[in-house]
């Protein structure tokens, strides 16, 4: 029993880390641009599928990872320039619908290029599972944990220690004030989508070896990212990470101990519960709007 619980915990942590990364990108985009990007899950899928194709050409996995991240980052930036930027000044509802439209088109594109097949990616490092306390930890999970850590450290470093990070922070705190200081909000929105694309792809390539990749898995991943972000209070970076991991563990335990058919229902019940009873997010202690 103890081993089974530990095993479920490992699975939950892995799953939760992925949700965390998606939640992180959602929160960052939301904080910076005020747009809730419903196409985020699609970035994850396209990243993973691109990696599948690149890997087919015989590239080493590290190159596959980098190229895929760069390509989807470019895609994110391109889409921002073509759509979000053109619609500047539109209501948040219009923006939301634009991202829905993008997500529909990207899903169609993925279906066109990669079809309905299920793909898998090779693990980043060779070698069997690590045994810890009777439970097996997939080495790929460690890569995913590392990705979360690097992302968090990167975001922290960027916001706290670089000029551009301070620029972005300033425009989050006070848009008008930032603009008066000569900060170009268009550039910042562009950068947010480039980052969202790149990070999404990184998440996609990392989960590829664990879960299978299909063209239509983006929507549910995006929704799980939302749940994680909402648990953390929607604009809180730390909260998003904790929310994601909490969600992953809850899902893993509920599907392992109760029923796997209810896995998705659990996260929806959590989200609904949070919104109905604790809309400021479960993690109230670290509440202040911090990016």
């Amino acid at each position: 029993m103890g081993e089974q619980l530990l095993q479920l915990l490992f699975t939950g942590l892995t799953l939760g880390s992925i949700y965390s990364i998606i939640a992180l990108t959602l929160v960052t985009t939301f904080n910076v641009t005020g747009i809730l990007n419903l196409a985020q899950g699609e970035f994850v899928v396209i990243g993973a599928l691109l990696a599948v194709s690149l890997q087919g050409t015989g590239m080493p996995m590290i190159a596959v990872f980098i190229v895929s991240v760069i390509l989807v980052a470019i895609l994110g930036g391109l889409l921002e320039r073509l759509t979000i930027n053109r619609a500047r000044g539109a209501s948040s509802l219009s923006m939301l619908i634009i991202t829905i439209g993008l997500s529909i088109s990207l899903r169609g594109l993925a279906l066109l290029i990669w079809g309905t097949d299920t793909y898998s990616l090779p693990a980043f490092s060779k070698g069997g599972s690590l045994l810890m306390g009777g439970a097996a930890l997939n080495p790929q999970s460690i890569w995913i944990f590392a990705l979360v850590a690097v992302t968090l450290a990167g975001l922290y470093g960027f916001f706290e220690h670089t000029f551009w990070g301070k620029v972005v922070k300033a425009s989050v705190y006070n848009q008008t004030g930032a603009r008066l200081q000569g900060i170009n909000l268009n550039t910042i929105s562009f950068l947010a989508f480039v980052a969202a694309g790149g990070l999404g792809a990184a998440a996609g390539v990392s989960i590829g070896p664990i879960t299978m990749v299909t063209y239509d898995m983006g929507f549910m991943l995006g929704v799980k990212g939302f749940v994680a972000a909402a648990i953390g209070g929607l604009s809180n970076v730390g909260g998003a990470v904790i929310g994601g991991i909490l969600l992953g563990i809850l899902e893993s335990f509920s599907s392992g101990l109760i029923s796997s058919g209810l896995k998705d229902a659990i996260s929806m019940i959590i989200l609904l519960g949070v919104l109905l009873f604790r809309p400021q997010g479960i993690i109230g202690a670290i509440r202040e709007r911090k990016i």
Partner: protein, 330 residues
């Protein structure tokens, strides 16, 4: 009702007679679906256009209505009319429970709550076992009947659905021009100002939300009696998104918006299915999806106020009228 709206209604009535002369079951079927969607989008339009809230869970209310009608008639042998009534009321009650908390908060929360509710309900339809019939759904739903009169043909259903829609259009016209309608308009313009004028915004938004859920449930009940078969697939998140699109494409806060939006989206889907394979030989559904998304994005960028703002003829000056009325009184 003024002359302008008469003009539109008469035009609509004339248009509605054409299918009765063509007598094509395909046309009737498409128009019944457009009519049902338009009923839902009417409610959603009030919620979005006036109360300024967006719901991504209306397919769930639509589905709950359908399943309520299906379960009550096949499992409990309720009279169809009573079941139809219940199919509207149940989603209304559920909307009340969800909206009470979330509508007090800022705009995104209702969207997220309805999103998760929609997915949850869809899972329930799929995993409901005996009660909902699981993924394969349930069949054998009787025809809707009033007394001994049975709505057993496409034509009869077409007339029923569009009659309900017309009544609804007139009702909404009156609603928008009542005190409640002006209060809703004022919420859209500025919630703070509305509160200061003594309007209970949260309550009114809740009422708008419940009303929209009632209409979605009613449409769901009608849908179940129309197809006499129900399964989870038409009630997914994507349908919810389509409803939002219809409302936006038609134009929020406009009188004809919901009808135009429903008609355009349904027609677009049908057209793309027909035309795309002709333009690109050998193309499958994927091109259709891509083009659909691109049209959506393009519309939001170039025509964010919706299609009904293109033709003045279709638009009633709903936005301006209440203010002038208030002015005249002052």
């Amino acid at each position: 009702m003024n002359l302008k709206s008469h003009k539109g209604l008469i035009l609509l009535l004339l248009l509605l007679i054409i299918p009765l002369m063509v007598e094509s079951n395909y046309l009737y079927g498409t128009l019944v679906i457009i009519g049902l969607y338009a009923i839902i989008v009417q409610g959603l339009g009030i919620l979005m256009g006036y109360a300024g809230q967006v719901s991504f869970g209306h397919a769930a209310f639509f589905g709950l209505g359908g399943y309520t009608a299906a379960i009550l008639t096949t499992r409990f042998h309720w009279p169809t009319l009573l079941a139809l009534l219940a199919s509207a009321i149940l989603p209304g009650i559920i909307a009340g429970l969800i909206g009470r908390q979330t509508l007090k908060l800022r705009e995104l929360y209702l969207a997220l709550a309805t999103l998760s509710f929609g997915i949850l309900v869809h899972i329930f339809f799929n995993e409901g076992g005996e009660l909902t019939g699981g993924p394969s759904g349930m069949s054998g739903i009787p025809n809707l009947s009033i007394g001994s009169f049975e709505f057993d043909s496409d034509q009869k259903f077409y007339i029923l659905v569009w009659f309900i829609l017309l009544m609804l259009l007139i009702g909404i016209y009156n609603l928008v021009h009542s005190r409640t309608g002006r209060a809703l308009c004022s919420i859209r313009e500025s919630e703070y100002a509305a509160e200061n004028a003594g309007i209970d915004c949260a309550r009114l938004k809740l009422q708008a939300f419940i009303f929209s859920a009632l209409l979605a449930g009613l449409a769901g009940g009608l849908y179940a009696f129309y197809v006499t078969f129900i399964s989870p697939s038409p009630f997914s998140f994507h349908t919810s998104v389509q409803f939002v699109l219809m409302a936006v494409i038609g134009g929020l806060g406009t009188f004809w918006g919901p009808v135009i939006g429903a008609a355009v989206v349904v027609a677009l889907n049908e057209l793309l299915r027909e035309i795309v394979p002709l333009l690109i030989p050998g193309a499958g559904g994927e091109y259709q999806i891509i083009i659909y998304g691109v049209i959506l994005v393009g519309l939001m960028i170039f025509q964010p106020k919706g299609l009904s703002s293109i033709g003045q003829f279709f638009r009633l000056p709903l936005k301006k009228e209440p203010t002038t009325e208030v002015k005249n009184r002052g």
